[in-house]
Symmetry: C2
Subunit: 390 residues, 2 copies
């Protein structure tokens, strides 16, 4: 992969995107290519470029200098494209089969050229259609276990780890999470979005000082606790899947944060899908349990084989870190479930429930369980999620 | 204050140091100045420059590109001079009366020109002479309370705080602390230095898995927990004092770390001085209690008047942070007491006890109490230190 710096940022067009991939030698100058912009236009341009005759295809992704959400627009650092590209390369060094290959990055243009994964489905969409992706939790547990250990103080030289923390410093995108996940849903703030029927439930949440105290502590841990390189936005919409493959995409929120954050967000989104279903929920709950088990086993194996910390011979240190990681994950899952129900960015799993009554009931349950998780971080085991919903 | 960049690093001499302060306009070109290098030569050159007729004086401090300790020498980032200068300016913005004024900094030369404080005494030396510096804890408690709050997530904008974390990233010097404070003293490693008579006590420590687990957790928190800008080396040798004045110097170890670290180191060094005395220990124990009380009151007042965190209206969040801060301080004090007794860098308070028997006894007590603090972080109150020694 190569990286260059262009003089000045400008948005790509379908024509200039084609020009770029030819210039990079990824296609011959004479090939007839079709480019289609397939992004949602809120944060990024995404060009799908294909030679219709050979079927060879590629993705060109460019960050926009602003974020648009529900009509609002605010400026956003282009540096997130470099962070995303660096994170994909870093993840790829440890689990190459679980991320797209990155071919090129340009810092000034905020452009990354990468593997086209359109033979796969975004796992949220597939899960909503009733797919269960039997390997999903095996893959994500392994992905998270590898990244968590390999980028931590237990694997890296102390100085190298601190340099990574600086490299992945991502203030703008962290602040989006701090506001939209940890703060706004817990206060009566304009960005929140929820059905009128939910108002009593939401007000109950806003008046629940105990729940808010836990949210505050999880937010503070998110902002201060540089344990490991995290994806930062690992919901089921950031994962391409098929029955055989799993690919993690879009780590533009990546930074050094707590071990439990990605785990909690992923588990929460599996849970929200289960909640949206009327039948066949078991595979989702099995995924939740298995994600944790595979994470724990992967992390533990690496701890024993690759640890550079002299104190790490004491198994109790590992045990305490794993226990805290799961407890944090439960708390982060609670925050994610709540914000996906009443915050600015919802999930289709709940919003697309066709019966209005069932939708409201599901959201009411989501709020209840989100609050429960925040209050019971110490005593919710991975297989408890299934019982909570009964 | 002005900052410039020179072309190339080279060590100053007494002549070039005088040239520099004249060029900066801090003295007239025609003044007769005397320069004397007063540093210990292990980490820095320190020039004291004075006009003997007017008595006007100034300090020129230059970092050396290596560290020398007990004959060993290893390369060390010059960037620490910039960190020190930035930290002094930052501290000075909040508590100008408690740090030297900084007049000039040159990044490439790693030179800082600052206020001469030689009318004061290094507080360790004064305490060893039996001074008690009645305002010391009032000043240091206020210093730590201001810095801790003002540079935290509760005072700064989220993005600004993350930029500060990057600005003060200090991998080389953090690693010295990680090794010399948190690791080496707990293992049979060459850098340790202790009297033969202490060997059984030291081996007992090395075999104490419970104590080592606590040290491991405090080290991990030090390496990952970016709560606030800390001094990083706040022992009594980093503080100039008189009966009226207190000035904190030498923050070259500054970085974003846990609230409790500086507190713990300072308290530990007060304790070590008390331990070295045969009489008049009370002022030291009063200082320990008062440091915490002033810290807590300062931090609490700022929390109420300047907090920008919406969740901070819940007093329980403040209470939990203060409780954790003190518990961490107790643990960090334990590590500091142990490493100052058997690690690479001792304190004169203990080493200069003239009676060999009394010295060994004091060190044995230090080890015992250091271990006790590590194991009882949750239940040692500030005034407990006095009882521990009885």
């Amino acid at each position: 992969m190569s990286t260059t710096k262009t003089e000045k940022y400008q948005p790509l067009t379908e024509i200039s995107a084609i020009k770029l991939v030819k210039k990079l030698g990824l296609f011959d100058a004479t090939e007839a290519l079709t480019a289609r912009e397939i992004g949602d236009g809120n944060l990024n341009l995404v060009f799908h470029i294909i030679n219709d005759q050979t079927n060879k295809s590629i993705i060109v992704k460019q960050a926009l200098p602003y974020a648009k959400v529900v009509g609002e627009s605010w400026p956003l650092s282009l540096n997130r494209a470099t962070i995303e590209s660096n994170a994909l390369k870093q993840f790829g060094a440890f689990t190459p089969e679980l991320v797209p290959a990155v071919y090129y990055h340009d810092e000034t243009l905020a452009v990354t050229v990468m593997e086209d994964l359109s033979h796969l489905t975004i796992s949220r969409a597939g899960l909503i259609q009733g797919e269960s992706y039997p390997l999903l939790s095996q893959h994500i547990g392994s992905f998270l276990g590898h990244i968590a250990f390999k980028t931590s103080d237990f694997a890296l030289k102390p100085q190298d780890k601190k340099e990574e923390v600086v490299k992945y410093s991502n203030p703008d995108l962290c602040n989006i999470t701090e506001d939209l996940v940890f703060t706004d849903p817990f206060f009566d703030i304009d960005t929140n979005e929820f059905e009128k029927a939910l108002r009593p439930d939401v007000e109950e949440l806003w008046n629940d000082g105990d729940v808010k105290l836990q949210a505050a502590k999880l937010k503070y841990k998110f902002s201060t606790n540089a344990q490991t390189l995290i994806h930062g936005d690992l919901h089921t919409g950031s994962i391409f899947a098929s029955s055989q493959e799993t690919k993690v995409i879009d780590p533009e929120f990546a930074f050094y944060g707590p071990f439990g954050f990605d785990l909690g967000q992923f588990v929460a989104n599996l849970f929200l899908n289960a909640l949206s279903r009327e039948t066949n929920r078991e595979p989702l709950f099995a995924h939740i349990t298995n994600t944790w088990n595979v994470f724990k086993d992967t992390f533990t194996a690496l701890w024993h084989s690759e640890n550079t910390e002299p104190f790490a011979k004491d198994e109790r240190l590992l045990h305490e870190i794993l226990t805290q990681t799961w407890q944090d994950a439960v708390g982060y899952a609670g925050c994610e479930i709540i914000r996906r129900t009443i915050g600015l960015a919802h999930v289709a799993d709940l919003d697309e429930i066709s019966s209005e009554e069932r939708k409201i009931n599901a959201k009411r349950t989501a709020l209840k369980i989100g609050r429960y998780l925040l209050l019971h971080q110490q005593d919710v085991s991975p297989n408890e999620f299934e019982h909570l919903l009964r």
